[in-house]
């Protein structure tokens, strides 16, 4: 048990022949993910020569899904083509799409998200490290070596900060059910609430760690959701207490605008919802151990 990805995940890789696509496809397969094929327009019929064997390449996601029974895809294509790849995956009816691509314009993502909202497709990302269910499947680039199976669910807007926390858990022998990196863009697919809902319903998740950062109000909304709907313990860390207002801190979504999106506001909202918020990510492990 876990959320979103597991042994039953049948994964397509959109952009499998690119440098990143090739490297991480091999990594995902090595982790045990059931990668069933790749999609590269114009290269249908060719094969992906993986480290552990060949995979079929298709021209379109739909043809790939029809041939392989795929139920998820991961997108490794440049920003210019990533929206098209997301439309295609959603149009093919895949229930889960993970987009790692960064630098997609916000107005593009507004259109993509509106398109997805009319369909049954869940999107993780863009500009995210993907997700991983230790012992079952990895769809993304979270380092395989830092995870271990267990019952702590983790959801985060950040990449390496997530790794930091996950690795600390693993070092202390605290395993994870699923770790989900939702990405740092302002308009994205699944947000904290969507993932929290799944963790709450997942019998194998005993408690949740939520890692937020400045910008937007997803953490405040999550706080309300936690107060109203979560029975499982949530522990949190919010990055950016020292970030100056008006400056984008790397992520397109990480910016304090006026009085909104501050770390202080987010921490206060979470604490009011009964969430323990660590001042230091190193302390999270102790707080839940």
């Amino acid at each position: 048990m876990s959320i979103l990805v597991d042994k039953n995940t049948r994964l397509l890789v959109q952009g499998i022949t690119g440098r990143e696509g090739t490297f991480h496809t091999n990594q995902m397969i090595a982790f045990g993910t059931n990668v069933v094929g790749g999609v590269v327009p114009g290269k249908g019929g060719q094969s992906f020569e993986g480290e552990r064997g060949k995979l079929p390449i298709f021209d379109t996601v739909r043809a790939a899904a029809e041939a392989t029974g795929a139920n998820a895809s991961i997108i490794f294509v440049p920003a210019k083509f990533a929206p098209e790849a997301m439309y295609e995956a959603a149009d093919a009816g895949l229930p889960l799409v993970v987009c790692l691509t960064e630098h997609i314009p916000v107005l593009e993502m507004i259109s993509v998200r509106a398109y997805l909202d009319q369909r049954q497709t869940r999107l993780i990302g863009p500009n995210c490290p993907g997700l991983i269910t230790p012992g079952e499947a990895k769809v993304g680039i979270i380092p395989s070596s830092i995870v271990t199976p267990g019952t702590v669910g983790l959801v985060s807007r950040s990449g390496t900060l997530t790794y930091e926390v996950v690795f600390a858990l693993t070092q202390r022998g605290i395993g994870q059910s699923t770790c989900v990196g939702i990405g740092g863009d302002p308009i994205k697919g699944m947000d904290f609430i969507d993932v929290l809902r799944l963790f709450e319903a997942d019998p194998n998740t005993s408690e949740v760690i939520m890692i937020g950062e400045i910008g937007g109000n997803a953490e405040e909304q999550a706080a309300r959701y936690i107060a109203d709907h979560m029975t499982k313990r949530v522990t949190s860390f919010i990055a950016g207490l020292t970030a100056p207002p008006g400056r984008r801190m790397g992520h397109a979504g990480a910016i304090v605008e006026g009085k909104s999106g501050t770390a202080e506001g987010k921490i206060a909202a979470l604490e009011a919802a009964g969430v323990q918020v660590a001042k230091n990510p190193d302390h999270i492990v102790e707080m839940i151990a």
């Binding site: 997609i104 916000v106 990449g159 890692i211």
Partner: protein, 386 residues
């Protein structure tokens, strides 16, 4: 990326929004000439990428071309919030102002839609209006597939108390501002104030526009509008090297891979009594040349008393990063103490390499931060003593 007022207003005008006639000047003489060509009376406005120009004396009304020259002389070269004024906009003086309005298009993240925000309380800081009199701010959301609909602008016009005769013009301005927003991938297009003149016309007196950095690659014309003079040199250099760097005021420099981890590192430096001197995300690759550039940028700030490296190896391998740091240090002569914390893939190998080179290392982020703060204090002690 932010545009200058004159750039924003030109783009607005391309979308049918009325603006006062005006030209940009880089010298007082040019300013005089422009003012003269426009009939003598003019507003001279500092073009600088920050707010509060008026309070800083960067906006002046000239009654004659000579006065325009005098004001331009005073304003050009002026420092406003640390930025140097290199250009002034010389605008024809608008006809008498009956009322100042506010109008903007921005993104509402929560609703995931562009939003038009309008207020009859224009000409002042809109955040203050929103804070003290939120009922004076009116909003409608734009569905990108439908664009601005007339029922939306009628709603805004009515809520702002605009006279019926101006509804059509107001609709055209809102539609134009949204078209300008959309076709330039803006994250903000703002007119403050949008004035009603004494002869009952609407006109955009000021203009502000921010562009989505992620869209610059598909908007080459806008990318060319970037004012490199207005960007701190270090940040421009970082951007070109593929590094995200933001200069801050503290004493501990830091170099981190990943934006979230970089912010967390800054927070922890503060938690243990230091002040971060910068935000620096070295990115996913962390190649040796990038590490070197990043280190040079950090050390170019004389306030930096210690440097903290925090690299979480995932795809990035710790030993490679360590080699990058070592090779960077070969190129840079510095006595600033450095603490390196490596974790994840090949962290042990990396730490071993660095320890051989006699660098301070740390196992955890907390430990690294504490060591960096202590090192900064020690180096300050040394300096004070010397």
């Amino acid at each position: 990326m932010n545009l200058h007022e004159y750039q924003a207003k030109r783009l607005f005008a391309e979308h049918g929004i009325p603006i006062p006639p005006g030209e940009v000047a880089s010298t007082p003489e040019e300013a005089r000439q422009i003012a003269r060509d426009m009939g003598g009376r003019a507003v001279v406005k500092a073009q600088v990428l920050t707010g509060g120009r008026g309070k800083a004396g960067g906006v002046k009304v000239a009654q004659t071309p000579e006065e325009a020259e005098t004001y331009a002389k005073a304003i050009l070269g002026m420092q406003i919030k640390g930025l140097t004024v290199n250009k002034v906009l010389v605008d024809a003086l608008a006809p008498g102002i009956r009322q100042e309005l506010y109008l903007a298009v921005l993104i509402d993240r929560g609703k995931r839609l562009p939003m038009v925000m309008a207020s009859a309380a224009g000409g002042m800081d809109i955040e203050e209006v929103a804070d003290k009199t939120p009922e004076k701010i009116h909003t409608v959301h734009i569905d990108p597939t439908l664009g601005v609909r007339s029922y939306q602008t009628i709603y805004l016009a009515k809520s702002m108390g605009l006279p019926r005769e101006l509804w059509n013009d107001f609709h055209e301005i809102v539609a134009g501002l949204y078209a300008c927003f959309k076709s330039n991938d803006a994250s903000l297009t703002e007119i403050n104030p949008l004035i009603i003149t004494v002869d009952d016309h609407l006109m955009a007196l000021d203009g502000k526009m921010s562009i989505d950095d992620n869209a610059l690659s598909r908007r080459p014309r806008l990318a060319e509008m970037r004012d490199f003079d207005e960007e701190p040199e270090a940040e421009a250099e970082a951007r070109e090297a593929g590094i995200t760097f933001i200069q801050l005021d503290g004493n501990i420099g830091c170099m981190v891979n990943g934006a979230g981890l970089a912010m967390a590192t800054m927070d922890i430096i503060k938690l243990y009594g230091g002040e971060p001197a910068n935000f620096l995300d070295i990115g996913g690759g962390a190649r040796a040349d990038q590490v070197a550039t990043a280190l040079r940028l950090i050390l170019s700030d004389p306030k930096v008393e210690a440097v903290l490296f925090n690299i979480f190896g995932g795809i990035t391998r710790g030993d490679e990063v360590a080699r990058g740091i070592l090779s960077a240090l070969e190129q840079i002569d510095t006595s600033v103490p450095m603490v390196v914390r490596l974790a994840g893939t090949n962290a042990q190998e990396g730490l071993a390499l660095l320890a051989e080179a006699d660098m301070m290392t740390a196992a955890t982020l907390s430990e690294a931060a504490q060591k960096a703060v202590a090192a900064a204090e020690a180096s300050r002690g040394v300096e004070t003593a010397s």
